[in-house]
Symmetry: C2
Subunit: 435 residues, 2 copies
């Protein structure tokens, strides 16, 4: 029996999932690959706390070098997250001729180029299915059986924390702040939830999806990133009345030779499969020129689902090694020399439908002034609702036809300066025109 | 530049899609694989009809042997469908050391064993992503990144014709016969639709899904197969009122060491993503012990989507060949020697919730008699509706809690013999308990 020895860096939740999977399904892995996949080393600063999984037969160490320098180890799994020291460890593993499997989207979104170049030089592979969509095998699909397609669009619900919060706001009519607090208490949101709720984690994942779909390098700082903190229960209610649900979407679109890369709350029609992705589930929807629209759905996080993706990658590597081939597929699916930068389309130039909410004094002529401003900037109104609250300040909601974002922003600047407008307007982009 | 030469058998709709894709996306394929994928031969009985795609540079022949015996051809694509002569051609291609890509579910469901054994002997690969779910890369996912999971359930909407008919029955309240006629006129159903509407095509696909999920051989004749011809618009209406939609599902479940393999109309809750799979779209939902539930959605048929899966397979083979490896992965994902027969669970022993519709005379005591019979066989009622039609014969619908199918059938036999029952009762199984 062949044996593939691996080293694991990071014994947190996902690390424990990896250990558990390798124990529970060892015989299955053998039946499929013809090899025993043996976890030889676990490196972590804390090697004493019980993680609820047996570490029998595994060498635990505080020194990552123990596994990085072990010539028997052919695959290194990196699960510590963040930029450093993950970057250093991954580069060292590659330098030592080891294949790398990682779930670290932040690392790859920022240092991917350097890591892929090093891997190419050393003839090793870097696999990272677990970095986007947890257990959903979407990256493998883009690189693999969908590879014959030119993609035009990729949309994703890829952050479970945001989707959990938006789902509860929708189902309970609750406020953002209250749901966030409860999500933190339940462990669905971090104590410092910034990366999640401000959309940064989603932007990291979008960078990876774009790289694989379009064979391009995306600079994280060029991705438009707007989180869910400004979504109110009022917006959620209006969305429902118009037949939409609000989701935080990662959106990538190819328009000619320019690319849109944006993360923001988005209204999707209630009868779209994306609208039915609830709680901590994730979904990614791609459109290819031949396959048409295709969607993947599953658990976007969690110990077990993420371990499924990590060990799935390890099994792919095992098959590659046993078949005698190396570097069967480049990290992004495109040969490294064919990865090229694409120009990003500025946000002002994107075209979308918009939901716009104003809070205005309930006076005659207000609607006419708002409509006038929108018309001046070429924004055409699809429908309008003024709530019949018997209060002095009322919400006015306008759904537009397709408009340029730059025009919308200019119009809103003008309207927000009206004396009858009582607080800054809010707008949410709508995606209801998907093929 | 490396070049991989392929031969195509069958120049029908999908064949034309393959030619189109290879022309349109030739440079993309090169950028990803580092090889030119060149279609050298097309074999078809009709080589004169214009398919709307250019065949410049391709040799057309009526003799399949021309490509089967061409030593330059390393991959043969079989797209003629059916058992013979497809079986003979595929076995000859393997015998001559060529890898095979096919979309032929019927062939593999019935002659898979023989074909996989031959491929093993010759050290070539057999790939068939296009055989299930059109362009949806579900088979690749099961064999690939999801491989670390033990699956417990696979459910699929995998026949576009049936889903189109059921969708229109649901949306329009139309009758089966009328929708079928219109589907035939529109080209969504064959002139002889038997294979589709009787569930046989779905059963073929279920055999393949089960083989990959469970590493097992399934005999087509052991799959319980019930088509959609007995679904009435009345059933569709009742389903809607109870919060369900009716879908033709392929269902595979592992229960201990026995397997359920069944195809039948099924009620799924309206808020399940599966319920939102409309028209000719397909979806496959799997549950793995680590990944949990995961769903794939996309176009289940058509020239372009199917070509995406076929050329996706060709690109995988190209990568395998260039990496110097062969037989990187066995056809079913399990090493051939680990594929074993599983025992099928008899339909009488399956447990499900049921929708049961009776047509009975509107007389006092009828409900009591029906309920009494059900109770006698241990079937517990979840809810009941008797339509307030002012006619002598009224429909009575009962939704049951979980019950054994054998008990349900016995109870219905008893009830159908009552003098007040005016026609044979109908029942539809319910899947609303998915994780």
């Amino acid at each position: 029996m062949n044996e593939i020895k691996i080293g694991l860096i990071g014994f947190g939740t996902i690390g424990a999932g990896v250990v558990k999977l390798l124990r529970n399904n060892a015989s299955l892995i053998e039946q499929k690959t013809g090899a025993r996949v043996a976890l030889k080393w676990i490196a972590d600063l804390d090697i004493t706390t019980d993680r609820g999984v047996s570490t029998e037969g595994i060498q635990l160490t505080r020194r990552v070098d123990d596994l990085l320098h072990d010539p028997e180890v052919s695959v290194v799994i990196e699960l510590i997250g963040g930029y450093e020291p993950a970057r250093t460890f991954v580069l060292k593993a590659i330098e030592n001729g080891k294949h790398v499997v990682t779930a670290n989207k932040a690392l790859l979104a920022v240092h991917g180029d350097e890591i892929y170049a090093a891997a190419r030089e050393k003839g090793v592979e870097v696999l990272f299915e677990a970095s986007v969509g947890g257990g959903i095998p979407v990256l493998s699909a883009i690189k693999g059986n969908l590879a014959a397609n030119r993609f035009s669009t990729v949309l994703g619900i890829v952050n479970g924390t945001c989707n959990y919060i938006l789902t509860r706001m929708t189902q309970e009519g609750a406020d953002f702040g209250d749901v966030l607090k409860s999500a933190q208490a339940l462990g669905y949101a971090e104590a410092d939830p910034t990366f999640d709720i401000e959309g940064v984690d989603t932007a990291h994942k979008l960078c990876l999806l774009l790289s694989l779909c379009f064979g391009t390098k995306i600079d994280l700082k060029d991705v438009y990133c707007e989180g869910i903190t400004s979504v109110t229960s009022e917006d959620v209610d209006f969305a429902k009345n118009f037949g939409y649900r609000i989701k935080l979407l990662a959106i990538g679109k190819l328009d000619g030779d320019r690319i849109e890369a944006r993360v923001h709350p988005t209204m999707v029609p209630i009868d779209y499969p994306l609208a039915d992705v609830h709680g901590v589930f994730n979904a990614i929807r791609l459109t290819g020129d031949f396959v048409g629209p295709v969607m993947f759905y599953g658990r976007g996080a969690g110990m077990d689902a993420t371990a499924s993706a990590v060990i799935g990658d390890v099994m792919e590597l095992t098959r590659d090694m046993l078949a005698g081939g190396s570097r069967r597929c480049a990290p992004l699916g495109f040969l490294d020399e064919n990865v090229a930068a694409l120009t990003l389309k500025p946000m002002g130039e994107i075209v979308s439908k918009y939901y716009i909410r104003f809070h205005a004094q309930d006076r005659p002529g207000v609607l006419a002034r708002i409509a006038g401003s929108l018309g001046k900037f070429g924004i055409s109104i699809a429908s309008m609702v003024q709530s019949a609250r018997s209060e002095e300040v009322v919400p006015i909601v306008i759904m537009t036809h397709e408009a340029r974002e730059g025009d919308v922003r200019q119009a809103l600047e003008e309207i927000d300066a009206f004396d009858v407008i009582r607080e800054r307007s809010n707008f949410i982009r709508i995606e209801d025109n998907l093929e």
